[in-house]
Amino acid sequence: MARKWLLLFVLGVIAVLMAAPLVLTVFTSLKPTTELVNPAWYPPQELTFDHYVRVWTDGGFSGYFVNTLIISVVDAIVMILIASLAAYAMVFMEFRGKMLLQLLFVLGLMIPVTAVVLPLFQIVRSLGLLNSHLGVIFADLALAVSVFVFMFTSYFAGVPKALHEAARIDGATEFQIYRRVVMPIATPAVVTTALLEFLWSWNDLLLRLLLMTRDEMRTLSVGLLNFQGTMTRDVTGLSSGTAIMAIPVVLLFLVFQRSFVRGMTAGAVK
């Protein structure tokens, strides 16, 4: 019993530490400017959504939101396709150079983003894709594909080989087996990939700062910088902008929590 209470206490402390920044941000975003003199952890006495309206309209967040949404959704969908197809080939097919390809993917896991950011910028520029959604999407996919191939490979390795063989006997092509037999039972891996890639894409600052310099192409994370000058800081703008940015991600995690956890643990418990 004492152990249970201790566990609850520890988990409670961790939960408070994790939730505190988000709660303080929401408090600040809903306070009238006059209440900003109060300590940050004071709940708002009077609720106002003025800062949200200001950030959404004058702050350009409506456009940034659409840009971010397009890039993140396309990133997530294309990543699921590329990573699952590559992992399918790795697990279920035999071909020349398979080992080499696997090594390349492992290499991709080990190289930090910051190390390749300049060559990546040059490649995107040489392709004429600076300040375009496509340029950022290419870069995002290239940098994260190794992680998701690895995740799908772990998941597919748990799919009985006999299923693949049964489908071959039934007359299915490799693509039919992928689409009708393997992918329908890989839902946890698909959800996890979608959520993680969406989240990484949604929150990324470095690549967007580098590859999207024109204001109309900016994303939310870059847009937040508008509220922070060298000497000044628009605290309410920053808070409501952060809240706008965080809400979709929190909602997605709440909805897909269960599948996400199953996908994350799939390789470990198979």
Binding site: A162, A166, G171, Q176
Partner: protein, 334 residues
């Protein structure tokens, strides 16, 4: 329906050859069982016929057509897997109709054929269930249904009963035999269980260490085993092998006597031994008898007998059923 020809078939993984020079003719509509101990190559041979393993050497023809390079689909075979290999996200009906849907058959035709197969296998009430909601026996029937719905040229069954309990095994064994009589399609069945082989097969192929030891009807293998290995593998309880002075009396390196071919009689001219264990099966009584110079012998007596552990019994092998083998385990003429 089709017959098969296996000519000098071999399989190697790198430098290691696991199947050597397999020659076999399988007649159209025949029920052939590949039997042998674990690792003898029986499943590999079946998978080579299915097109799931590449053929390293030799030639395979199905229905007169060379099939070495054909895909599993082009070979027009169906296979039942040991693990059932049902698609977990599909219902029973979808599992059974999957191959037909790939052939772009109409929904009505698929439903009709699935219903026909389901009726034959008493699966009608389960068509809307997922495999996870079925018992082991029902899953096995779905796996068989998935195979028969296509009406293939050849059925391949890879240890299909090994995941079932004893009662269900014998029940499903009978169902598969009846199915074969009904569909009259060539069936190749792999098992390590000689009882399954003996009860189901038209002909049995005994494999050992990647070689075919013997091909023949169940009674042929039982009465005239081509090697000591086959003699020991076919028959339950297994044949007694006796070396030493008792074998020398009949001019053999090894003498083989099936447990049911002993008589118990008077002490004169018989092998005397002590009973170490008694198994009473009702229809049979199995004695384990320790005989000097012959070791522990298994004796299967028909009916119920009252021997007890510690009793001395006098065994006499029936001369007409004695099998004689040379040093290499090959039979000597009786």
């Amino acid at each position: 329906m089709a017959g098969l020809e296996l000519k000098n078939l071999s399989k190697a993984y790198g430098q290691t050859e696991v199947l050597h020079d397999i020659n076999l003719s399988i007649a159209d509509g025949e029920f052939i069982v590949f039997v042998g101990p674990s690792g003898c190559g029986k499943s590999t041979l079946l998978r080579m016929i299915a097109g799931l393993e590449e053929i390293t050497g030799g030639e395979l023809t199905i229905g007169g057509t060379r099939a070495n390079a054909l895909s599993p689909k082009q070979r027009d075979i169906a296979m039942v897997f040991q693990s059932y290999a049902l698609y977990p996200q599909m219902t029973v009906a979808e599992n059974m109709g999957f191959s037909l849907s790939l052939e772009r058959k109409s929904k009505a035709e698929i439903a009709e054929k699935v219903q026909e197969a389901a009726d034959a296998l008493q699966l009608g009430p389960y068509l809307d269930r997922k495999p996870g909601q079925l018992s082991g026996g029902q899953r096995q029937r779905v796996a068989i249904g998935r195979a028969i719905v296509r009406k293939p040229k050849v059925f391949l069954l890879d240890e299909p009963l090994s995941n079932l309990d004893a009662a269900l095994r014998s029940e499903t064994r009978v169902e598969i035999s009846e199915l074969h009589q009904r569909v009259e399609t060539t069936m190749i069945y792999v098992t390590y269980d000689q009882v399954e082989a003996m009860t189901m097969a038209d002909r049995i192929v005994v494999l050992n260490g990647g070689y075919i030891e013997q091909v023949g009807s169940p009674m042929d293998l039982y009465n005239n085993p081509a090697s000591e290995f086959v003699a020991g593998f076919i028959g339950s309880p297994k044949m007694n092998f006796i070396t030493g002075p008792h074998a020398q009396v009949v001019d053999a390196a090894t003498m083989g006597v099936r447990p049911e071919h002993f008589d118990i009689g008077p002490a004169d001219d018989a092998w005397s031994g002590k009973v170490t264990l008694v198994e009473r099966l009702g229809h049979d009584t199995v004695l384990y008898v320790n005989v000097a110079g012959a070791g522990s012998l298994t004796v299967n007596l028909s009916g119920q007998h009252d021997q007890r552990v510690g009793d001395t019994v006098h065994l006499k092998p029936r001369p007409e059923f004695i099998h004689k083998f040379d040093q290499n385990g090959r039979p000597l003429s009786v």
